[in-house]
């Protein structure tokens, strides 16, 4: 019995190859025109998953639009320009929150972009090979720390330091400026800016380093051969890499705008517009993180989802611009 069965099995492939089991005709022939039906199934299967990714992004936007419909219908564009965020009276204006998001991200970039460019220049132009690897690894390690751990460190180390040392110092020496007034509370815009600057640093510096490295070596050699100093040749490299570094900055901005946990833990969480960096503030991401589970009414939840939608659209615009800048830089360098 066993023998006969294996014999049949052995013969099977032969009979298959002689007479095709599946021979499509007519209009099906075109559909199955690829050489192997397995190819077609495989392609369609991978296509299915690619379509899934495509649909996912569309679905995300759609879901948030539907979820925020009540709020959109009631407030319309005034959602973005109204400066009162009062859940008790069911008035939701996101202006102070947008203000907090923009100011905190912008100031964080002001601190971290020059530092990042310095790091990128050091890693690509100056550092000897043996130092570059461990340093790059260290900078990338910063990127791997979870955001909530930054927040933990912010609450117990950064905020007390700001409260006891930085803010008294600033108000004593620069207190005449409106940016450094008010009680040194610790939790507030300043703490958020500093922690965002630390968190944005690795992404901006590692992309900038890659971009500086992509500038052809001949550019540096030409400058050095003409008698330029290291700094002069670096300036030429930086000029070539300008749009790429701008793209890296935009990516950093996208990260800063969407950063949630660390900011929520140190910014003080109050929806007010104040010029002082000592005062608490709010960002879009931290409002959602902080109030979503507390949102009791439909209107409240809907406004929070609308905030998420605004954040979603904003980060898409920022990232698309960043992508465009890095891409244009790559294209510019390629023909050379």
């Amino acid at each position: 019995m066993d023998n006969s069965e294996t014999q049949i099995n052995r013969e099977d492939p032969k009979t298959k190859s002689n007479t095709p089991v599946f021979a499509p005709k007519g209009r099906f022939k075109k559909f199955f025109s690829s050489h192997n039906i397995g190819d077609l199934i495989f392609e369609r299967l991978t296509l299915l998953f690619a379509v899934l990714v495509f649909l996912l992004v569309i679905l995300m936007g759609y879901e948030m639009y539907v979820g925020s419909k009540i709020s959109i219908n009631k407030f319309g564009w005034s959602f973005l320009t109204n400066s009162v965020w009062d859940p008790v009276q069911e008035i939701y204006g996101a202006l102070p929150i947008i203000y907090g998001t923009i100011v905190s991200s912008f100031l964080a970039l002001v601190i971290s972009v020059p530092l990042s460019i310095g790091i990128a220049v050091f890693l690509s132009e100056l550092s000897p090979g043996w130092l570059e690897k461990p340093l790059s690894f260290l900078v990338e390690l910063l990127a791997g720390i979870p955001s909530v751990v930054y927040g933990l460190w912010g609450i117990f180390v950064l905020v007390p330091w700001i409260r006891n040392d930085v803010e008294p110092f600033l108000s004593e020496h620069l207190g005449f400026l409106p940016f450094f007034t008010g009680a040194p509370y610790g939790f507030g815009m300043l703490a958020a800016v500093l922690i965002l600057a630390i968190m944005v640093l690795p992404i901006v510096s590692s992309i900038s380093r890659d971009i500086l490295k992509s500038v052809p070596q001949s550019q540096r050699e030409a400058a050095l051969a003409l008698g330029a100093t290291r700094w002069q040749s670096t300036k030429i490299v930086l000029k070539d890499a300008k749009s790429g570094i701008l793209g890296a900055t935009m990516l950093g901005l996208g990260r800063a705008v969407g950063e949630t946990m660390a900011v929520t833990m140190v910014i003080g969480n109050r929806a007010v517009i104040s010029p002082s960096l000592f005062d608490p503030s709010y960002t879009m991401a931290s409002v959602i993180a902080n109030e979503f589970t507390e949102a009791t009414s439909e209107m409240y939840l809907s406004s929070l989802i609308q905030l998420a939608l605004v954040l979603f659209v904003l980060t898409i615009i920022i990232n698309a611009l960043a992508k465009l800048l890095v891409w244009s830089m790559e294209r510019k360098l390629r023909p050379r």
Binding site: F49, A50, V53, G118, R230
Partner: protein, 284 residues
């Protein structure tokens, strides 16, 4: 002669100053890193004990206890996330590299970039409206789905890039032998690139393990032992957030320990990632 000497010196000095500024920038950037690691390790180790891994959280006000449920919860959440993110990421990455040289491929590529830039809290909101609202309660499943969505762009892009690195001659050799394209892709191309793909997967998993924001209102957190996917699920990151904000010193200390354990878990993943990439270069 004197004037040219002056300009020469000026150029030299400017160069030295600017270049040392770049060194200073690098050092300044390393300071916070050192501080964060110093505090996490010193404070984390001080309260690290066996209880942390095997005991349950104590009720409010009582000291001691551990986070056994959160450790298991985090592992389960990244497991669910991986079950969603890995197949979608690998398959769509395969599509993009093998069949994606068309308009649709470019669109999907752009959308994965968009997805990788979307803040994790927004993904949390979407998971809430997609899963929590229809189910009418918070669940580990919703948290896992959020993490899975967050993994997709990383895995898709690395898969695509790694498959593109496979030399065309290998594909041609397979096709020349009469092997159908799908078999060539699976048995030759994917097999050659699997180490690179595995690093992408590990990177995605380790990032997901550190996420807090998308879990806040999906998996929510749970103070009791629960491995039920349909129920709220505890996670280390949400515990760190809750305990860091709490007024109890004992909880604050446990937050540091949780942070240390979380970082060790993540670095074990990235260590695995380094070992895999190293052996990849050895075989080349």
């Amino acid at each position: 002669m004197k004037l040219s000497r002056f300009f020469f010196l000026k150029r030299k000095i400017t160069s030295a100053v600017m270049m040392s500024l770049s060194l200073v920038a690098t050092l300044v950037a390393i300071i916070p890193l050192v501080f964060i690691f110093y505090y996490t390790i010193s404070k984390g180790i001080a309260y690290l004990n066996l209880d942390f891994f095997v005991a349950m959280p104590k009720p409010v006000g009582e000291s001691g206890g551990g986070m056994a449920n959160a450790i298991v919860g985090t592992l389960m959440l990244i497991g669910i996330g991986g079950a969603i993110g890995i197949p979608v990421g690998v398959m769509s990455g395969t599509y993009l590299s093998e069949f994606g040289n068309n308009k649709f491929g470019a669109t999907v590529r752009f959308l994965t970039d968009v997805l990788s830039g979307v803040p994790s809290i927004v993904v949390g909101v979407v998971a809430y409206t997609l899963v929590v609202v229809p189910m009418k309660h918070f669940s580990g499943l919703a948290g896992g789905i959020a993490l899975g969505i967050l993994m997709i762009p990383t895995i898709t892009r690395t898969t695509e890039e790694m498959i593109r690195l496979v030399p065309h001659s290998l594909r041609e050799a397979g096709l020349a032998l009469g092997i159908p394209k799908w078999k060539t892709t699976i048995l030759i191309v994917l097999k050659t690139a699997w180490k690179g793909i595995a690093t992408g997967i590990l990177l995605g998993l380790s990032r997901a393990a550190g996420e807090t924001a998308p879990l806040l209102f999906t998996a929510l957190g749970n103070r009791f032992w629960s491995t039920k996917v349909m129920q709220p699920m505890a996670s280390l990151t949400v515990y760190i957030y809750d305990y860091a904000k709490s007024p109890f010193e004992d909880w604050n200390n446990q937050a540091w320990t949780a942070a240390l354990v979380l970082i060790i878990m993540i670095s074990m993943l990235s260590l695995l990632f380094r070992i895999i990439t190293r052996s990849k270069f050895k075989t080349k």
